[in-house]
Symmetry: C2
Subunit: 166 residues, 2 copies
């Protein structure tokens, strides 16, 4: 299964000011690209902090949410998971998904990168600077990428698509 | 005087793994762009940690280096400065410079952004991920940018140029 990490970030590489910061600063073109691509995949993997910044689960997609809670609340459209990310990916493969979108936050992105489970990274660079804030990845890496495309999606936002070379 | 901040960063917004990390991971096209643009300006402003990652002062340019040292060592081609960045910029204007390149690191970049002294930002996004590392800016901001151009300078590196909207 192909895992595509899709994130919007400020030019200085921040995905939010803090973990409860709702992404109201991203462009509508980015939101459209995320909605279209993730609906095609049918599944979005994320951490519970990211999930709880949304007003409701993402519609028309399975929300696969990593949580350390013992008994997380049953919510329609949400599959709570924990433990090794390989096992989660295998399980999604078993359910017939051909690709999945990884949607943050920094800790879950870092976990998937560390386990070499991210195949592609699509970043929307938004015309903003936050300075201090949450990074794309937690963890210590030195990973090379191959640029597949660089494309403007509006006057000020650029989407960069890469393959990850482990 | 126009101040252009020029930095190479990883896709995840890091300018180095640590403050003594020499930028040997950036592309030769980025190095050429920096050399050409900064020689045209004639002056590069930076912090002393950044300066001391270089084997020698940048040639054919005035190296304006912020330092907290009381009596920094006299080095040919280096002008040691401290205090308010506005005064340093005014002094360079007085010397006849029309533009200056701001070249890091994170602390000095943040200082200049806080004082609204950066007019343009040119970022080379290199095809790498570092995870933990030094950010573009230290400090807490919410600054908007206007994209002027997005251009590939080789197969895998993209230069994004912005105006800063304070």
């Amino acid at each position: 299964m192909k895992v595509i990490m899709m994130m919007a970030m400020t030019l200085d590489g921040k995905i939010a000011k803090s973990s409860d910061h709702f992404p109201d600063w991203t462009s509508k073109e980015d939101k459209k690209l995320f909605a279209k691509t993730s609906k095609e995949a049918g599944v979005v993997i994320m951490g519970d902090k990211t999930f709880f910044t949304f007003p409701a689960p993402l519609k028309e997609r399975l929300n696969v949410v990593f949580s350390l809670e013992e008994k997380p609340k049953v919510i329609e459209g949400v599959k709570w998971v924990k433990g090794e990310p390989e096992i989660v990916v295998k399980e999604l493969e078993g359910l017939g998904y051909k690709s999945a979108i990884l949607g943050g936050g920094a800790f879950i992105n870092g976990l998937f990168l560390e386990h070499k489970l991210i195949n592609e990274i699509w970043i929307t660079v938004e015309p903003k600077l936050f300075g201090d804030g949450l990074p794309l990845f937690r963890g210590d890496f030195d990973v090379d990428l191959k640029l597949n495309s660089a494309e403007k999606i509006n006057d000020n936002s650029v989407v960069l698509k890469y393959e990850v070379l482990y």
